[in-house]
Each structure stands twice: as C-alpha cells, then as structure tokens.
Amino acid sequence: MIPRFALSRPRTLDEAFDAFAASDGEGAWIAGGTELLQVMKMGLAQFRDLIDIKALEPLRGIHADGDGLHIGALTTHREIERSPDIARAFPGMAAMARRVANVRVRSTGTIGGNLAFAEPHSDPATLLLASDASVRLCGPAGERSVSIADFVLGPLSTAREADEMLLGIDIPAAAPSTGRAYDKIAFFERPAASVAVRLTIADGTVASATVAVGSVGEIPERVEEAARRLEGITASEEALSDALPAVIDALGAIDAVDDLNGSPDYKRHLAGVLLASTSRAALREASADV
C-alpha cells in the first residue's frame, strides 16, 4: 500500500527546483516510479512530497552526434530497446534494455530512475560503467557532469545531491574497431551476476579494454586488472581463449556479497563465465567493425 504523499507536477526545471525547495527536505523526484513506489510501499522510504518530473522537456529524447549518444533521463527502457539511433550506435545497449525486468517495467521505468536509484543489480549501470558513460546532473546551482564510475557510490547511494536531478546520460562514441557486450545470469527477478566488456582493436591487438561486473559486489564495479590482462593480446578467438583464464582469475579481486543468488566464490565464478562470453562477443563486434 503506497503511503500518502503530496504530488506536484512542474512544467519547467525552475518550477521543479522551487517545488523541491518547498518540500523542506522531505521531497523526492518521481518519474516512472517503478523503484521509488515499490520501496515506499514496502515502508523502506517515505516522502511527504513527490515531484513528478515527467513533463520536463530537457529530460527527454535520444540523439546521436559525433560525440556519441545522449539519452534523456526520462527515456524508458522500452524506448532504448526500440530507438533506431541506439540500435545503430550501441546495439549492445538495446539488447541490454530488452532484458531489463519485465515488459511492464520496461514500459514505464526510465534509465534516469534506474541509475539514480542505484539498485546494486542494475543492468544499465554495469553496461554504462564499461562504456565510460557519464550522467548530467542539474541542481539549483547549475549543471555538472559525473562519470558513472564516480556517480554510483554504494548500494542505493549516488553522488547526486538531494536537490539535483538527473538530466541525461552521455555515452561517448566508440572508437573505431570497438566492441561492447553485456550479459547477465539471473535466477530471481534481478541478476545474480552481470558483466559488460568494451574492447578496442588496433593493429591486430586489443589496444584497450574495460571490464565491469555487476550484482556480484555491493555495486557495479570496474575490474581494472581484468581489463589490463585483455589489453595487448592478439585480436583473435584463439588468443582470447588462451588469455581468458588469467583474465577471469583477476575477478578474484571482487569483494563479492553473500546473498540469495549464491555465495561469493560461486558468484565470482558466474562472473567469470559471463566474462568469457562477453569478451568473445565484444571481440567479434570489434573485429567486424575493422
């Protein structure tokens, strides 16, 4: 049962910030509400005022330019799934969005809400972490940009100030010959482990790589050592297969959480299984792009 709250529906950013200021610290933004209303129902959070930001134009839209992809915070998972721009510029993101939660959550849940809520099992956060994405935040004091790596601080905790709002996500255009892949294993509603890999090939070798692992530790995290071990290998299936044991071994550094999905060593093992498949997929995509 959702507890009582007051709702305001600002039409502009200024109105929104005024409404937030008027809430005396007992306010929260609401967009799709798929996460927020759920925790309110469960009594885990309570807000006197909710400020509905769905009408704010600056938070809408998807566009691609030379810099990369710019996705408004209000973009739903479904819109990401179906956007021709995203399909062209970042097919792995569309594929990821297609598997978020279920069809109903994808209809209403937004990418901004997902990131701002910082649920430790977030699919987008893990993928975006490996993609060097950043979020644009806007508060009464103005706008700033924060990388995803610096944005997610802990479970359900981000660098966003209470009166700041997430405007959108910027995903830099991939360098030529880059592959980006994401995959997850889920036993329950949320993933038990998820892995995102970015690989860029230059001169027949893996010139740079990023590895992000979600759902295993407390928050999605980059595993730099795993990425380092991918770098420099010959860009071939065989070389990758040879390198993988050492790459996967680097996941041992993850401080895995013991939860219903499994014990730490099992979850790290699952991440390794995923790292193998996503590395291969990323390599294929990067090779095809040559």
Partner: protein, 157 residues
C-alpha cells in the same frame, strides 16, 4: 487532483488522491474488479492493464499518471457479448484454472499480438515471461495465444 481517465473507451472525470494506484481506482472507484492484484511488486503481472497500448503494472502505476490516457482492462476486451479471439482461445484451450492471473495474461497477450500479430512459439513464451501463473503450468496459455494469432487473418492490424 482531478484527472480524466478514458477506460475501455469511456471517459471519466475523477478526483484522485496522489497515492492511489491505477489498480485501486479501477477496482474500487470504477468497479472494474477484473484486474487483480497479487504480488504487489510488479513481478507477477496479474494487474497488467494497457495504458496507451503499453502493458503496465496497475499495482504500482499512479492513477494520476493515467490522466488523459487511454486505458484498457480485461472488461474492455469483448465487443459486447462477442469475446475477442484471444478470450475465446483461452476458453477453448482451458488456458486458466483459478483465473487470478487471467486478466493480466490476456492484457499482456493482447499487447503482444497487437505488436506482433503472428508470433512464433518462442515469441509467445518470452512475451509471457513476466506473467506468473501457478495453476496451469503455462502450456495451455501458450497454446491459446498461438491459436488466437492463427485465428487473426494476416491482413488485419
């Protein structure tokens, strides 16, 4: 707050409390009790209704957000006494037992077939993944959705 909800083609002006969910308004204010609430956590799909043709969990969708939108519930599927092909297929295949999930299944499947009138079996299985049924083991439901798709002429929709 005042809102205008168009439910199954009929527009209603309502005064809505912000905390009211679409499921509460449909069931308690509009007497449309066909929509059921089960897990109340957006997992089971029992409360699925269509808002502007998209399936949503009415248990966690604020009624006020449906202001000015077109809502369809299980009560709106039949055309008078004439059942929709999907409803008929559910009866023909005994695609329900206790039927607490049925309204949600029908709405999800309706949206699925509107988008993809001739789905493969895998399309149906994946399309229904977010709707739980504890009685049937799903087999008859999947059969019914495929049969309803077959019953729809290729040139319709």
């Amino acid at each position: 707050m005042s809102a205008s909800l168009t439910v199954n083609g009929r527009t209603r002006e309502l005064s809505i409390e912000p905390r009211e969910t679409l499921a509460e308004v449909l069931r308690e204010r509009l007497a449309l009790t066909g929509t059921k609430v089960s897990c109340d956590a957006q997992v089971c799909g029992a409360c699925t209704v269509l808002v502007d043709a998209l399936p949503v969990s009415a248990c966690t969708y604020l009624a006020i957000d449906a202001d000015g939108k077109r809502i369809r519930t299980v009560e709106g599927l039949a055309d008078g006494q004439r059942l929709s092909p999907l409803q008929q297929a559910f009866i023909d295949h005994a695609a329900f037992q206790c039927a607490f999930c049925t309204a949600g299944m029908l709405m999800t499947a309706t949206a699925l077939l509107e988008e993809n009138p001739h789905p493969s079996r895998d399309d149906v299985v994946e399309g229904l993944e977010g709707n739980l049924c504890r009685c049937t083991g799903y087999a008859h439901i999947i059969d019914a959705v495929l049969a309803a798709a077959d019953a729809t002429p290729a040139d319709v929709r």
